[in-house]
Symmetry: C2
Subunit: 82 residues, 2 copies
Amino acid sequence: MDSDPRVRFGLKLIEIRKTRGWSQERLALESGLARSYLGGVERGQRNIALLNIFKLAEALAVEPEVLLEAPVTKQESSVVTS
Amino acid sequence: MDSDPRVRFGLKLIEIRKTRGWSQERLALESGLARSYLGGVERGQRNIALLNIFKLAEALAVEPEVLLEAPVTKQESSVVTS
């Protein structure tokens, strides 16, 4: 398990979003969440709660538990960009 | 997916806690979360955030994503008790 759950979640979210080929803006539109908030989540700065996790899962058409899985990219070596 | 993520999460948490044979009080002690807060989570009244989800997962010795899986018990027919 990565040391910070917020960083782990952010990396996983980026991973899934990019698999879709979506920009942050597209994900913001699809999920109804503010782009600035999403940016904070992806940078591991937000302690995102259940209802927003489920909104993201629905927008990305994945089961919510997928968002809590460990990212493929190692936290230590990754560069977080939008 | 159950209609309310908070209710779904609460049911799943109860399910895993009971698999361990733990009381709410035991889970509170192991996770460092207040028992009254845990009660609210299990009743589906709390929009629990990432850091607390990970605390519960660690206390219960499960991967965090397991807590976001759908409960075995159907939401409609379950009776939520401690």
